[in-house]
Every structure is written in C-alpha cells, then in structure tokens.
C-alpha cells in the first residue's frame, strides 16, 4: 500500500486532522500493547468517532486490501492489538460515549472506547455497576474487554465479560454494519454476538456494545487469610467452592509477589507467609456474616495461620491495592519476566503451583505467582536477566512447561488475556488440527479476505518475533508508576 498524500487527505477529510496520525513518532507510540516484546509499526493510526466512520474506514481498507487492527487502550497482554502486519491501526479512544443508560431495565449501550471504570462510575448514582473488573479497569476499554472476554477478581461470582454482553453493533470485514443481539435477552443473532466476545478483533470491529448492569452489592466483607504453605491455600480455595460458597472473589499472592508489592507500597503484607488469600464476599448484608464465619472455619481447617476481616473501607482498599498492584510490582523490578495466564480446575491448583516452583528451580530461576484462585486462573511469573540469553531461553522453556502442566491437568493456556501473538505456538498443543481447522473456517466466514487483525490467535501466519514473549525490563509505562492507574 502506498500511503500517498491523497489517501491521507481523504482519511483526514473523514476523521478530521487529529483523527489521522502518520508521523513516525505517533506510529512508534502505537507499535505494541502491554506485551512489549512483540512490535509492529502501523502504517497509519486512525481515531474514528462513530460507527459510521468505522464503517467507512473498514470499507475503504477492504477495497484497498489494507489490514485493520483494532485497539482500545492497548493494555492487552498477548499482543492482540499489535499491528504486526502494518496497515491501519484503528484506535477507539475517541469513541468513548455512553449512548444510553436504562437504570430500570438495567442495561447500557456504550461506545467501545469507554473506559471500564467510567461506566461503573456513571452507573453508581443509579445503584448499579458493570461487574467485569479486570485489574486494568481504570484504563482498559469496554471494547477491549469484550474483544478479549476479560476476566477480573469478581468474575468468580459475577461471570466474565461475555456473560455481561447483551448486544453488539459490529462493522464486518467489508464495512457493513450489523446489530447482533440487543437489549432484550434473546434478541436475534445474539449467538453471533457471543462469538465476537473473545475474538480479539479478528471477526469484526465492535462499535456499540449493550451491556448488562447489575445492582451494586449492599455490603462487602474482605478477608485476608495467610498460609505457611501455598498448597494449603490452594486446597482451601477448592474446599470453599466445594462447600457451596461462591465468594465474590478469591485472589492469591505468593511470597515473592508480596515481597515485590511490599518493597513498593509498604502495605504491611505478611511476608513470612508462603501465600495470602484475599477472599471477598458481597451481597445482602444479612447473608455475609455467616459466609465469613464458614470461610474462616474452612480456611483454618486447611491450615490458615491467620484470618483477618478488614474493619473498614480503608483497610479493604489497602488489601485490594496490594493485589491489584501485583502486575506492576513485577514490572518495576528491572528484571525481565515471562508471565502466564493458565487455568486449571480449581481442585488442581495445588499441583500446578508445586510444578511452577519445581520447574523454575530446576533451571535456577526465580518464580512468583498471583492467581484468580477461585477460578483456577494463575499468573506465574518467571524472572530472568534479559542480558543472559541462556536464562531467557530457560525462562521461555519453563513457561511453556508450566502451560503444558495446565493442559495435562485439564486446563487451558489462557484464562483471560487471550492468545494474540504470544500464545499462538501453544495453540497446537491444546487443540487438535481438526479443532484449529474448524476455527479457521469460522474465521474465514467472518473475514474472507484475511484483513481483520491478521496473524492473531490461530497458527499459520509468520511466527511472532519471539516464540514467547517476556515483559521488557525497565518499562516506562504506567505499570511502573506507583501513583499510576494500577493502584
């Protein structure tokens, strides 16, 4: 594609001058999402404001054979928003309006660039909120959340993003605009919308999203429970579920994670414990004391050293601040690390955790992990020195081994971050060729020309720059700023 001045002028006529970025610096700023080892310069960055503008852009790209990669806030951790085949990067940050909010019938239509936390803020005066709460919620967008089918601590009780999507207005590969589903629960074509959830921008561009809003819980209790052995903490999680209790969240940090967070934020975390669980219950005030009591008993039976219930909002906020800063705490070590997103059946968490430490230790590497434990979703980090190629390779191998353990235990290679570019090499290990071929047939049905976010999710394209990627040391993005949005 030759980006002649005429073409750029045409795009500017559509989007306004500040809607088209083609300077080297601007393109450079958008060359990666939060997985910074995978990079690819977009030819041009476009910032549409409306569904019609997106349709016009995609129609044009379709006619011109230009790849289109959608991007929300770019906090994705799998390289999903990296334009590694060049072309047009379609950024939704100017599509950030709430189009309708119906407090009685409890739904909202929003544009995809609306920031997750902003929707809950706007719904709060009506006693409602948007339940999916990825730790990135202060900056990540609803469009990105839907496209990634994001999870979050509270998805244990409230379900992942896909469970909160009622309808979508989507721009298809050729620029046509369709409505799939809608505010009524069984609106036509809702099953098509449900496939767009988690499709990482490869099946269509989400332009308007109808989400379910749910009542804010009347009361919340947050407990911090620590353990001398991490396996005990894992078994306690499984036992709580087996007892028929579904807390709002059950999150785990291991000792290394706590050390890193503590060195940064000085929250008074129990550094002598092998692991700490944050267990939160929410709902009607009358229900919660009994739940807290039962969870206390169960975790004690499983070897909890201490159980503390946060006494006020400030203490609760401190607990969550520690947990939600965990990612960032790794980022500011200056060390490089790989980071995984495997899921196992919750009853197998203890096994997989033992395997994480054993595999890392066998290669002389340090490992630390945080988990959405209630969902069996774990984020092990393997630390390495980026200047040591041998270590880097070992870390990548250990990471793949860990994901293989997840697969063997009946789990998966990604619980919430997506496949993007990063995990393509593992797709062939979890799926048989016939499964992948079926998925690729479906994808071609949505995108016959192969121009929507090409090269993501399915194997077959040119290999990503690195077989597996690791976060860059010394990142200067928001994750490393203690006063940044991740607190």
């Amino acid at each position: 594609m030759d980006w002649t001045p005429d073409i750029l002028a045409e795009l500017r006529a559509l989007l306004g001058d500040d809607g088209v970025l083609d300077s080297g610096a601007a393109r450079f700023a958008y060359e990666a999402d939060a997985l910074t080892l995978e990079r690819g310069l977009p030819d041009v960055v476009v910032l549409p404001r409306s569904t019609d503008e997106v349709a016009a852009l995609v129609r044009w790209a379709h006619a011109s054979g230009v790849p289109v990669t959608p991007r929300g806030a770019g906090t994705g951790l799998a390289g999903g928003a990296t334009p590694h085949r060049g072309g047009m990067l379609l950024v939704t940050s100017r599509m950030d309006q709430v189009l309708a909010l119906d407090p009685e019938r409890m739904f909202a239509w929003v544009q995809p660039g609306l920031v997750n936390a902003r929707l809950s803020e706007l719904a709060a005066p009506h006693g409602l909120h948007f339940a999916p709460d990825p730790s990135s919620q202060p900056v990540s967008t609803i469009g990105g959340n839907v496209a990634a089918n994001a999870g979050g601590p509270h998805c244990l009780k409230h379900g992942v993003t896909a469970n909160h999507v009622l309808g979508l207005v989507v721009v298809l590969h050729d620029g046509s605009v369709v409505t799939l589903g809608g505010e009524a629960p069984d609106a036509p074509d809702a099953e098509l919308a449900s496939v767009l959830a988690g499709s990482e921008g490869t099946l269509g561009i989400l332009c308007e999203i109808c989400v379910r809003l749910v009542p804010r819980p009347e009361a919340v209790h947050t407990m911090s429970v620590d353990f001398a052995r991490i396996e005990d903490a894992c078994r306690a999680v499984s036992a709580v579920i087996a007892a028929g209790i579904v807390p709002a969240a059950m999150e785990l940090m291991d000792r290394r994670t706590m050390e890193l967070v503590e060195a940064w934020l000085h929250l008074g975390l129990p550094l002598d414990a092998a692991a700490a669980l944050i267990v939160e219950v929410d709902g009607p005030a009358v229900s919660l004391p009994a739940q807290v009591e039962r969870i206390t008993a169960i975790t004690r039976e499983h070897g909890a050293r201490s159980v503390r219930v946060a006494s006020d909002a400030a203490e609760r906020a401190a607990l969550w601040r520690g947990r939600k800063s965990s990612f960032g705490a790794y980022g500011r070590t200056g060390l490089a690390f790989t980071q995984m997103d495997g899921t196992v059946p919750r009853s197998r968490l203890a096994e997989v955790v033992s395997a994480v430490y054993a595999l890392a230790e066998a290669r002389g590497l340090a490992a630390g992990t945080l988990m959405h434990a209630g969902d069996g979703n774990l984020h092990p980090h393997i630390l390495f020195d980026p200047d040591d190629e041998e270590q880097h390779r070992a870390a990548l191998e250990v990471s793949q081994e860990i994901l293989r353990v997840c697969i063997r235990l009946g789990g998966t290679i990604s619980g919430e971050h997506g496949i993007g570019l990063e995990k393509i090499p593992m797709m062939g290990e979890i799926y048989a060729p016939a499964d992948l071929e079926t998925m690729s047939r479906l994808r071609r049905a949505f995108d016959p020309g192969g121009l929507l976010n090409p090269g993501k999710i399915l194997p077959g394209g040119p290999p990503p720059t690195h077989a597996r990627a690791a976060a860059q040391p010394g990142n200067t993005d928001a994750r490393n700023d203690p006063e940044g949005p991740w607190k």
Binding site: R105, T179, S194, D435
Partner: protein, 423 residues
C-alpha cells in the same frame, strides 16, 4: 443405556408429520462421525435428535433423510463437585443430570420442558432459557466447551472444562441455539451453581389493573428474585397450586440463604401484601419445572423477547382478556409466551411490539387457528447478517447436510417485525 439393536421406528421421529427415511442411534462419537460421513456420501440430510421435545413442535424440514438419535450418548463423563463443573454427553436427560448433581448439592441452573425426556444437547441447541435466566444466564453463559461433529464427520472441539478460558473461538457458544443447523453437539462442559439453602415461591393473585400498575412492581428487580413469572388464568390451572380466581398469578421465586430469603419475603409483603400461596423447597422446584413444562403445551405458541423486567410490561395485553389468559411471562428472563388459541396472531404482534416485545418464535399448532403460517418473516433479517450466516453455514456444512436449524437455512429463514437497534 446401550444402543437398541433394531433401529427405532421412523414414525417416532416425525417432524410436523414428515418422517425421516432412516434412523440411526449411535453410541459413540466415532459412530456419529461415521454415520455423518456416510450420510454426506449418500446425499442424505440429517436432523440430530435428543428427546424430541422441541422438534416435536418444529416445522417440517424441506428434506429429511436421517434422524440421528443421540440418546445413547448419555454418560456423565466427569463430575467434580469441588470444581463446580460437569462434563457430560449430550444425550443425557436433564432429569438424570440433575439427579447426579443434586447428590452433591449442585445444579446446572438450566431449565427446559419435560426434564425427564429432554436431553442436554437438545436443551442447549434449542437455547432453552428458563425462568431463572436473569440470575444464571442462558445456555451460552453456562457452557464452557464442547465436542461436536461437523456435517462431514469431522470431530472437533472448542473451549474446555475450566471456568475461565479464552483460547480460540467459542464455537460452543455459537452452537447454543443453532438447533442442529451447524453440527452435532456430542459432549459439553458446564459451569454449575450451588443449590440454594432455601427456595421459596410466593404467589400473588393479581387483577388486571394492579398488573398494569408500574409503580407497584418497580422495586421488584432490585430485590433480585431468582424468578419473577406472570401466569394468565387459563394456564395457571395446570400448575401444582390451587386454582386461581384472579386473572393473573404473579410468582416470585426466592433462592438464597435463610436470612436473605426471610428479608426478601418481608420486603415483598410490604410491597404486595400477603401472598395467596407459598411453596417451599421441593414444592418450589416442582413449580419451576411445571412452569418450564407449560412451554410445551399443545396448540399455537408465540414467543417474544423483551428487556422489560416487571409484570407491568404486560399492560398492552390486559385489554384482551382471552389472550392474557394464555400469557406466560418470565419477567426476569425477558421471555413472553402467548398461547393465543384461535386469536389471530397478527392482531397481537403489533400492540406487543409497541410495548417492546419482539416475536422470536411462532408455533402453528394443529390446524393453525391463529394464522401463524401467514405471519411472514418474524424478524426482518439484516442483509449482511444473512450473508454472514450463509458464509458460516458454507464453512461448517458446505454440502448442506444438516437439514434443520431455522436460522441457518436461507430459504427457511425466520421472519419478523422490523427490527429496532436501540430504543
């Protein structure tokens, strides 16, 4: 259960009077694949069969070669209560599955008519959505992964057994509601829920005026009942409760721990007065099933979807006593069924459309006294969606072997009132 030695009678598999030319009842996935390959080779079209609950009221397929009875694939493959997930073959009945889960105090939270006969696969393929939908979601919210067969006999899988999984495309969600039009569901994994400590149904007899009074019901959705269902007098007589004297019965289902349910009951009594009847635990469960069974009544049925979530949404119907008698509205699930008897279906659709109800399914019933057949398209299809569906269908079933699944057959497409995107 082992496969029957002699294939069952084709007459048992008639759809709207049309019989298949043959019937097969495989016992393994591989047999299913083989049968599909043979069918493709012989140019036979295929309709997958579960318990036949939904098919029995379906429209005749244009060509109907083979009925593929899946009821012999009925194993619960893996059930781990401490993971709160189950994996089962799709021919297992809802009843048998419920029993296995109840032993550990868990449930699928999915409802369908005729639980003793309806299969898991049929329930998902029909996107059966029970009265407790608001709290627990639709089938596509509960399904975690599936093994399925494509029309050419390819065995494939998407998703998995764990509760969080974003690896690859969620074809298993696409198959929910596909009515066998894209492939054959063989084995699925589901997210389960703990059975509540207490289950209560409160029944309130309600006159027409009170039903239409929006302020009376406004606070109900925020009380988060497990179900909120309005039953017209003509239907309520079949429920396991005393015959109502009021034109409508409003049923509020509460499922929670003891203190919360007590609190909800007091709140409801403040809002609505003393209930006319109250059912507890097993009796309440039986009522939920009776409500699901109501959908399988003989005769014409019109099914609508709506974002409305309180009884007052029925106001446009109240003026038509004959019709409102045959209304079943799962307000917490946005689903309204009307059994119009001989009332012209056409006359109902317009007033309900103004009230935000969209017709999504219409069953004619014997002799079609309501004139369902003459309704025309229910859902004015969007051209680009039709094209997309045709491409998906061509990708997954290029030879057009799967003979059912209305939304996947171009010449058999539904139908409808003009669609509105946003209200």
């Amino acid at each position: 259960m082992s496969p029957e030695p002699a294939p069952p009678e084709p007459a048992r598999y008639a759809i709207a009077g049309v019989e298949p030319s043959s019937v097969r009842r495989p016992a393994t996935r591989e047999e299913v694949a083989g049968i599909l390959r043979d069918a493709a080779r012989d140019g036979l079209t295929v309709v997958p069969w579960g318990g036949g609950v939904s098919l029995a009221r379906g429209r005749a397929p244009r060509r109907y070669g083979l009925a593929l009875d899946l009821t012999a694939l009925d194993r619960v493959v893996e059930y781990s209560p401490e993971d709160m997930t189950v994996t089962a073959e799709c021919g297992v009945t809802l009843g048998a599955l419920r029993e296995a889960l109840a032993a550990h105090g868990q449930e699928t939270a999915l409802e369908g008519a005729r639980a003793e006969r309806a299969t898991l696969g049929g329930l998902l393929a029909a996107n059966a959505s029970g009265p407790r939908r608001l709290r627990f979601g639709a089938p596509r919210d509960r399904i975690l992964g599936a093994h399925f067969a494509l029309a050419d006999g390819t065995l494939a899988r998407s998703g998995g057994r764990v509760v969080k999984n974003v690896a690859g495309y969620a074809i298993h969600r696409l198959l929910c509601g596909s009515r066998g039009g894209l492939g054959v569901l063989l084995e699925v994994s589901l997210k389960l829920a703990p059975a509540p400590a207490r289950r209560v149904a409160l029944l309130f007899g309600t006159g027409a005026r009170a039903l239409g009074d929006a302020t009376r019901w406004a606070a109900l959705p925020r009380l988060e009942p497990a179900l909120l269902t309005i039953v017209g007098q003509g239907l309520a007589g079949t429920l396991p409760v005393a015959s109502p004297t009021d034109p409508f019965t409003v049923i509020v289902g509460l499922e929670d721990d003891e203190p919360r349910v007590d609190q909800q009951i007091s709140a409801l009594e403040r809002l609505l007065g003393e209930p006319d009847a109250r059912l507890e635990d097993d009796s309440a469960t039986a009522l939920w099933q009776a409500l699901a069974d109501l959908e399988d009544r003989d005769g014409a049925r019109l099914t609508f979807t709506s974002p409305a979530n309180t009884p007052a949404a029925l106001a446009p119907l109240i003026e038509r006593p004959g019709v409102s008698a045959g209304a079943l509205f799962h307000a917490a699930a946005g689903r309204l069924h009307i059994f119009p008897g001989a009332t012209a279906a056409r006359d109902l659709i317009e007033p309900l459309a103004t009230g935000g109800f969209r017709l999504i399914e219409a069953v004619a019933g014997d002799g079609d006294p309501a004139g369902v057949a003459s309704l025309g398209p229910l859902i004015a299809p969007q051209a680009a969606v039709l094209d997309l569906r045709a491409r998906i269908r061509a990708a997954l079933d290029p030879a057009g072997v799967m003979a059912y699944g209305p939304r996947w057959q171009r010449d058999d497409l539904p139908e409808g009132a003009p669609r509105a995107c946003r209200t």
